[in-house]
Symmetry: C2
Subunit: 355 residues, 2 copies
């Protein structure tokens, strides 16, 4: 048995794999592979509609918010967002709280003025900055809800009159939030939502068309809205896998139900880490991510040894990102509690052996 | 049995569907789905390397040409190419020979001056313009090698000292060409090369870094080259399907071998069309596409009737594009001769019945 702790692309529900595998041979009894159906057929329109409607239902989105499935990953959105939203002479506020936010800041500077309201770079992004002010004149305030690499997560939505723009790539659909509070939400699919190769972008329509900047057609959210995410050939299979994953989440009881399980998984792992001094979580307690749990050990030799134990037990993707080192266990929606239980058992055994 | 004449996404080899279906449950015996493997693992690097190396081999590309697999479809390249290649004060020459070229022209105008050297718009793009001059001062000359919608194809490479940029989305890998003559080649994968959701871009390195224009990181070919198509999470599965399709093509004997079969398929269909006055091919003979065969009938009632016959016989995707009407049969690499044989039989029977 494999326990997949990958940070993304990452584990998806077994039911999704099974259905997707079947659809590659025969999609819904059509005799055609999902890979060879036309994107302007009722077959694919049904897939796209179900993906959009299920996302809308699961996130309780109001009618002012449009849901788009676009080519590219979140990295594409780093520039597409300011390109669409930020006028040459405008200013956007950004929170510098991790690797991805930092990259988003770099791209935004190509399109307007960027004000970094706070940063946690001083301690290698191991906490979420607090007590900062968001300038009222900002076109939008951008932040990353969950930092996949550093293992931090923002547990509340900032109170501000400035429109909120959030990169939710690594925690979308993992917990209840008032998603309607956001002017724009984006997420690469390859964590909680599907396979790599598609972005979900949720945008409040009143944010668009205000910069006066001419846009390439494929980069223009308004064009995608007008064409219902079918401006060009979409990444058909990636959208299909999103639809299956969203359908699965709905069958599990939705976001609130999965959140409870996610909380239990994270609590078990953090409690174990906190109880065993041989392991040292790197993130400040109040800012710990429920999705990506990061820890180190004090000696490189011990890390090597414990990594070997994990591998022997079928664990995949548990090595930490090179910028942090140590370990990272990603506990996305589709990861079973059993995998976390096994990991914590191994930790206890290992700590006992080394005591 | 289904005969898939879709224009794209379109039929792929059965072996590709079978292997992809298996890999979604278990990729190469790893116990992991291809959808959940990390993109920075040796597992995926092997896939990407094989895709690139096989494409290089099949197209006999020299070392000056880099092969990239990028997010988005060819429509993304419509602006990404001038963004990378065309300076603000530069001029690019374009051939207006179909729906896609027209769209490419529109996007290029955002970045520099565009000179349309010739157009076949006067007759609804049913031929390829000839006898035009390409201005020597152009940064590049852009054309579409095969027009998917209108069913025309350019059967030779223009002689010019201006660097050639070609959209080969619908005929790449279908015929032998001296691909090294091109400065940049791009193609959405979803016809001869794989599933929707990835672009192949082949670029001669000396074309890059000359505009002085700051580029968004994700749009910068040089960044993608420096990162070996792993600048961000790539569309893993779409790249994998490309790799399988390229591997299949190599097993068939390569581009030259498939070209012979493609010629036979197209000859059978065009000969049949030419022999039956009830069907009327829309494209000038010398410019007919071997990939997309377009014809109409003189009465809408007859078209309806023949379309019904096709459908009864398991034919999919044979209705013409709304801009041309009538019929379109796409004869991509993976379409079997049997499908063309059946179609031509049905044509003969139908013509006989109506005679």
């Amino acid at each position: 048995m494999v326990h997949n702790f990958n940070s993304g692309p990452s584990v998806l529900p077994k039911e999704v794999f099974e259905e997707a595998s079947r659809a590659i041979l025969d999609f819904n009894g059509t005799g055609l592979s999902i890979l060879e159906i036309g994107h302007r057929t009722s077959l694919f329109q049904g897939v796209l509609d179900e993906a959009i409607n299920t996302a809308r239902e699961l996130m309780k989105l109001d009618a002012e918010h449009e849901i788009l499935f676009l080519h590219g990953g979140a990295s594409t959105q780093f520039f597409q967002i300011p390109m669409n939203l930020l006028a040459d002479k405008g200013m956007a506020a950004y929170l510098d709280c991790g690797t991805w936010g930092k990259k988003a800041i770099k791209e935004a500077k190509l399109y307007g003025q960027v004000e970094v309201v706070a940063s946690s770079k001083d301690r290698n992004y191991c906490y979420i900055p607090k007590g900062y002010a968001i300038p009222a004149g900002a076109t939008y305030f951008h932040y990353t809800t969950n930092n996949t690499i550093e293992g931090t997560q923002m547990h509340s939505i900032p109170e501000t009159s400035v429109p909120l723009v959030a990169d939710m790539s690594s925690d979308i659909l993992s917990r209840e939030m008032d998603f309607n509070k956001f002017a724009l939400i984006y997420a690469g699919a390859q964590k909680n939502m599907g396979a790599a190769g598609v972005n979900m972008v949720i945008v409040r329509k009143d944010m668009l068309g205000k910069t006066g900047r001419p846009l390439p057609t494929m980069m223009d959210y308004q064009e995608h809205i007008a064409n219902g995410s079918l401006l060009n050939t979409p990444p058909v299979f990636a959208v299909y896998v999103c639809m299956l994953t969203l359908r699965w989440l709905k069958q599990q009881g939705g976001v609130g139900a999965i959140e409870k399980i996610n909380e239990k998984k994270a609590a078990l792992l953090y409690d174990t880490l906190d109880s065993l001094p041989i392991f040292r979580p790197t993130v400040d307690k109040e800012d710990r991510s429920l999705m990506n749990v990061v820890w180190v050990m004090d000696e490189p030799e011990l890390e090597k040894e414990f990594l070997a134990v994990c591998k022997e037990n079928g664990m995949v993707g548990i090595k930490g990102h090179r910028s942090v080192g140590g370990f990272r266990a990603s506990l996305y929606n589709a990861l079973h509690m059993e995998s976390v239980e096994l990991l914590t058992e191994l930790m206890k055994e290992f700590a006992l052996k080394k005591a």
